[in-house]
Structures are given as C-alpha cells and as structure tokens.
Subunit: 240 residues, 2 copies
C-alpha cells in the first residue's frame, strides 16, 4: 500500500516555462524589447539539465554535492553570456531572475489535487530542487506539502535511485510504500527501478504549442491519469 506520494515539480506541478519567460521579460523591461524570453527560458532549463546530468551519476556519496541554487545561478550566467546579455542585467535584475523559480504558478488542477491527496497520503516534492527553493515556491504557489524531500535529503540528483530510496527512508517507508508522480516519462524509469510505484499524466502545454514529448505514457506506469486532480480521484478509488 502506498503511504507517501512524491512529486516532480517543475512541469508536473508548476508551469516553469511561462513563469521563467515572464521573469526574463521583466528583467529586460527597461533595456529594450529585442529579447526572446521563451528561448531564454528554454536555454536556461537546458543548461541546468546539462549540469545536473554531469552531477547525477558519479557524484561521490554526498562529498561533492552542489545544491541546485548554485547550479541555477551558474547556468544563468552562461545563458546570459551566450546571448550577449550579461551587460544588460544589473545585480537586482539578476537576483530577481535567480529567485524566479520560487514564484512559478501551479497548473490549475495542482493545488486542489494536492489538497485532496494530502488527506490520505504524505505528499512531498522529490526532485532536483533544493529544500529552500521548494519551501519558498510552496509558500508562493500555495502547494500544501507535508514536508520537502529530494536531492538535498539524498545529496544526489535524479536519475540516481538513491534520491528516491533515501527520501522514502527519511519518512520511515520502504520504496514500495511510496509513489513518484511525474509528467516526464524519463523520471519514472529510475523511480520504478528503485522500487517505487509510478504515476504519469501529461502536461501538453509545458513546452508550448510545439511540444512533442511526454504527450502520452511511454510505459505501463502503475497509474496513468489525466491530471493531478484525476490522479487524486483514482487514488481515492484504488487500492494501490
């Protein structure tokens, strides 16, 4: 029986792309309208993903762990430099951009779905984000987590299975008593390999109109839902 439900957050629970694009818009509001905010958002996310990939597999056990806040800041420097924009952001604009991941908007079904699940399950983010990022994002977006788990608890990044097993252990559960929810098929493979139950729903607008990835489940995940509210309904009716 599942007792705790873990969540990917960026994309699955909140709409990162339009929020980050909006933050770029604001950062350059005074210096001209020639930037492409969605492209910058995509570039930042891609740069973060690339750095996380370097940090995930071979990180020694905790010794070399760098939290996501620092990775976000370094990746932002690179993205601004690549776009020749470094000279156009002051320290105040840069600080606002760095904090922009803490002010993203939830998808419309996210908060009611989480509230419903929280009545029966322990719910927690379990993703690459730092405890700090997830705490302030939850406060801003009204995400009713029971606690914050994930990379900072395991001192490892997904796809390392220990992110999930150590998060389960932190709440006194076996991996099979927990479930990972993600709108990204690639998140669910390592979670399943680590013994967790898995749940998928698509976020077809995460990457905009041109999205081609993660429109459907790529495997027979334990629960396949329409959105987070539908997941809550299915969990209420199920015996998983």
């Amino acid at each position: 029986m599942v007792k705790a439900i873990f969540f990917d957050v960026f994309g699955t629970v909140v709409d990162w792309r339009s929020g980050i694009a909006n933050a770029f818009d604001q950062a350059f509001a005074k210096s001209g309208s020639d930037i492409k905010p969605l492209d910058l958002a995509d570039a930042w996310r891609a740069e973060i993903a690339s750095r996380l990939a370097e940090n995930s597999g071979d990180t020694a056990d905790g010794a070399e762990y760098t939290g996501l806040d620092a990775i976000h800041c370094d990746a932002l420097e690179k993205v601004l430099a690549d776009a020749d924009l470094t000279h156009r952001v002051g320290s105040k604009e840069k600080a606002a951009l760095e904090k922009s991941w803490e002010h993203l908007r939830p998808w419309p079904d996210s908060v009611p779905g989480l509230r419903s699940l929280r009545r029966e399950y322990v719910i927690a983010p379990c993703n690459p984000a730092s405890i700090s990022m997830m705490t302030w994002l939850a406060k801003s977006a009204g995400l009713p987590w029971d606690l914050i788990l994930g990379a900072d608890i395991a001192r490892r990044y997904p796809p390392a299975g220990s992110v999930y097993t150590r998060s389960a252990a932190a709440v006194g559960l076996a991996p099979g008593e927990t479930m990972l929810v993600s709108a990204h098929n690639r998140d669910l493979d390592p979670a399943r390999a680590a013994g967790l139950k898995t749940a998928f729903f698509s976020r077809p607008k995460e990457f905009g109109k041109a999205q081609t990835s993660d429109l459907a489940p790529a495997d027979a995940w334990d629960v396949i839902a329409f959105d987070l509210l539908d997941l809550a309904r299915q969990m209420e009716a199920s015996l998983i």
Copy 2:
C-alpha cells in the same frame, strides 16, 4: 525581520507525557495493572535525554550521527529492563510503544496558533526528532508545518548551534531571519548564541501537577507569550 519560525515540539507543541503514559497503559493492559505509566514515561524521556546529551556535543560532523528513532528504541529497552518489564511486552506491544511518539496530542492552542503563523511565516519543527517522526506526528496531530527541519537535516543534536544554523541555511535564511520557539528555557540559550531570535511560553502541565521547571522565562527572550496562539497574535502585531 523574521521569515521562518522553528519549533521545539515535544512539550512545546504536543503533550508527550500523558500520551506516552497512555501508550504504556495500553501496552500492559493485558498483563496487569501494577505498572506506573507516568513514571515509565518520565523514565523513558530521561533515558532519551541522557543519550542525546552523549550524542550532541562531540559528534563528528555527520559521521557518527544516529537518528532519534534508534535512540528511542534503545532507550525503551533500557527502561523496560530497569523496571523488570521486558518479559511482559511482546513485539507488537513494543512496536506500538516505539511509534507512540508519532501519535501525541497537540495542546489545544497549538494547531490554531500554527495555522495563524503559517499565513505569514515558514514554520517548521527544529528539534532532535527524526524527519520520519515529525512527519507522521504532524499527520496524526494535524500540525500544518511547511517542512521538517532539525537534527536529521543538520546531522547533529541540540544544543549544537549547527542544528539551528543549518536548518536556517536549508531554507536560504541567515540565523537572524529565523526564530526558535520553545517552552524550555534551556533550548533557547544555544539558539540565541547561534544568532536566532527566541520565543518562550510556559507549558505548566507538561510535567504534571508537580512541575517546577520552565514556569517562567529565565532570560529576556525576544518574545514572551502565554501560549502558541498568543505568540501568533504578538507576531502579527510586531515588527520582529
């Protein structure tokens, strides 16, 4: 300005003594009524405190950290042995006793006070308890924490100041942007030394009718309240 409020929990937020005494009552319900449940509760807590004192100061940085669940179990064995009761508890009764700290009742003002504070502040337990213990206690008692901090995050026990500074750092704050709330004067000294703001209220029934300790503040703490609800009122009106 304080942005996050940390709490001692056992005694300050929940009534551990009557709950643990009740758990002993239930554990021995079938084997006779000759036990003294309040004495056993006091003995268990004293044994835990003594083991925590051994574990707090000189623990190497994370290397030798043992979580509170294991300490609770070992201390229970000792208390049962000392009272010549080991042979009278089966594995089921012992498991229920071990989990009894996750099913304590909040003081009447605790949940409304925390709900009120949560509107303006990040609120989290920050005490010797494990993440697991605090998660399931919160679920059982309805404590609306934003997240769980404390010993498991710092891998140290109070009175080590790093329990507080690392918990503050985990939510991206300087110690002075956080406050520790406790009904035990002795908790507040190391928190103040670590740079945190401090708040005290008395729990005059924590140790029963004969309580003589912590009936009043022992120092000029930043906030002195009547109870948790009064603390929430004072924080709403203050500029701390």
